[in-house]
Symmetry: C2
Subunit: 267 residues, 2 copies
Amino acid sequence: MPAVLVVHGGAWAIPDELAAASVSGVKAAACDGFSVLKKGGSALDAVEAAVRSLEDNNVFNAGHGAVLNSEGEVELDAIIMDGKTLGSGAVSSVKNIANPVSLARAVMEKTDHVMLTSRGANLFAESIVREDFNAKWAHDTVGAVAVDSDGNVACATSTGGIRNKMVGRVGDSPVIGCGGYADNFSGAVSCTGHGESILKVTLARLVISYMEQGKSVEEASERALKYMGDRVHGAGGAIVVTPSGQWAATFTTERMAWAAVEKDTLW
Amino acid sequence: MPAVLVVHGGAWAIPDELAAASVSGVKAAACDGFSVLKKGGSALDAVEAAVRSLEDNNVFNAGHGAVLNSEGEVELDAIIMDGKTLGSGAVSSVKNIANPVSLARAVMEKTDHVMLTSRGANLFAESIVREDFNAKWAHDTVGAVAVDSDGNVACATSTGGIRNKMVGRVGDSPVIGCGGYADNFSGAVSCTGHGESILKVTLARLVISYMEQGKSVEEASERALKYMGDRVHGAGGAIVVTPSGQWAATFTTERMAWAAVEKDTLW
């Protein structure tokens, strides 16, 4: 089974002066994630590694600058999902966490819940004392999807949200079926774009639904993004993989930074 | 176009001594919601009225008693969605709010966001000063779906969550596509049951997906609940209406309190 990993660094009108750095950032993250797959690692480990690489890359911070809510604070959202078991972890509105995707994974693996929010999510982070959660800054929406050599798929998405958002605003990123979805029976998707629009059409689940109806990964992504544009006038992007290794990176925004690795090819 | 309204008061092993009161509670709420439709009101107004009736009914509180998180506090979640516009509002982990469904509606109508969590959601409630948000107690998961005489559908779901949950735990209820979904192009769904399982299969969106594939409301609901049972071993229930007035109330738990009103018939 051919392993594949696809990442994105957010879909928006990326200015020319940031485009090159964005592209090299997503390519580096794609390679970081794919190196996990190459060693026989799981899709789940690979998407976590790729998203951590993006979370750690200042390019995806410097782009928007620190994205602050209306009280001038940073609140972060992230999700991770294992297509083999539908195991899912999500955190919303957490503060002072460097790698929200890893906190989301801890929610998945160390609690009976799948989503923790705000102070509760931070209390949980403190309770499990993993130093690598500590951090200083926000970042764009980033994400990864992967299929490993056993045909298991996984997705992860992480974000600092939108500028001047209301305190406690939750976007699409930590919401299962919206910012991401993964099921070995169909595929894995990670989304980015206008959060409120993605929520209204449950974009990740909509892409999967079209795939279940027999559409290719490209057709399913395009059709779902078109529905979002037509129905709620929102733009965005999606990356997709299937258990058999089909993949796509599609967007209706002006640009989306993305990269993919398949066998020894970096796209 | 025949108007229909269906409500539920939670799907679980309702004990015999509560069954009668549960049934009369959902019937009363169904009539409250339907009276809005009868006066020519919208599906959106009708589901809000029905869920407020359930939120205000002590039966659905006395059942579980006040459901407390692990710090001994009450945290509430709710969602409302307008199938005409996909307008959506949700609140998670709010405290001291009597009618979270109406706060969710305020998020939909008075902010640019669709989901607010925790302290931010409470700050928002204070900022809009609607006395009817103030309250004392928690309640079971309750929900409503409706289609009005113009063929517009809407859904609403509200809950106190599960006993001894972690602080900040978000269940399925406030999550678009999981606790509820509404789109005039397909139908409206409100779900109840094991929250983490509902999240993993995005139950409301899954029911809609099967309907889009041509399944009847009963078949779509049964198939989605079966998938949830098979894939993640979770039980629950769903109520559904379509723009043309088809409806169903389906569950895989031992019991689910539900009621429906159609023309002058109370089911």
